[in-house]
């Protein structure tokens, strides 16, 4: 997808090198969070697919976003599908 290649992700407030957006990476992270919430594999995959599509839509008009922005948007949509998984996804960076 064109916007997938064009969007740059600023990581950890610029402390890490900027990366191109990777749909697969986002999908995997949502699958992992959903599985951590003890959801079945099939459901985790379906939810991750839906949430990734939402995020891709949101990214269409944005050439550059932070990894935090993506986490916030993904969490918002994930909450509608699986609140426990959304909670774990949101907490990942603020547990330690």
């Amino acid at each position: 997808m064109a916007h997938e290649e064009a969007t740059s992700i600023i990581k950890r407030q610029g402390q890490r090198p900027t990366e191109s957006f990777s749909r697969n990476k986002l999908h995997q992270s949502i699958v992992a969070a959903t599985l951590s919430a003890r959801a079945p594999e099939g459901q985790a995959d379906t939810i991750a697919y839906a949430v990734t599509n939402y995020v891709l839509e949101w990214l269409e008009s944005r050439p550059e976003v932070t990894s935090h922005d993506i986490r916030v948007v993904a969490t918002r949509h994930l909450r509608a599908h699986h609140p426990d998984a959304a909670y774990l996804y949101e907490q990942h960076r603020i547990t330690l």
Partner: protein, 238 residues
Amino acid sequence: MDIASSLAIVTLAALIHASFQLSVSVLTLLSGHAIGAKHSQARVMRLTFGYVSGVGVMTLLALSFISLIFLHLFGHDAPDIIWAIACGLLVGVGLAVWFFYYRREKGTSIWIPRSFARHLSDRSKATKSGTEAFSLGLTTVVSELLFIGAPMVISALVLIQLPAHWQLVGIAIYSVISLLTLFSIWVLIGSGHKLSAIQKWREDNKGFLQFAAGGALAVLGFFVYVCKIMTDVSGTLL
């Protein structure tokens, strides 16, 4: 100080140690990554058990090491000035825990150097074997020394006064009790409880845990001061 009072102080110090949350946070992250990576429940349990064992062994080694240093420096009875410094340290760390233990933001982030936190977070994700989990447990105890140092120091001062076999009993009591929280979380994860529920409980009750740990440190410092220094001073005067 008699044996019962000494072991009571060691037990309270170990309970305070158990109330600190860094090792629990790492265990939560480690199990989350292991479950998310589609590992079997048996493998999740092996990894998390490796981690809990690492924390236990490092706690045991750290307390033994501090006790050994004190034994070499002071013999079987440390001078009162050292006891006074240790009591001051307990009260000081207690106040610091009240004001600074958790960062003022959502979640359960605590005031340890961010480079330590990032390292532990990255390692919990990269850990694939029981041995790696064990070494992660060792590292976690080192990262937490800033807070657990004070209860360990007072326990070591108490332990060096005891006869050799009671020293071993004291070290065992400290190690087992300091692992209680971690062991409980390990059992909860093993019995299929949701990580989100565990993390939610920790987030909702972090204020209480912070108050309890800080308050208990100050109480322990005051108790040891009265029990040891005041008794010694009044004994000298009489």
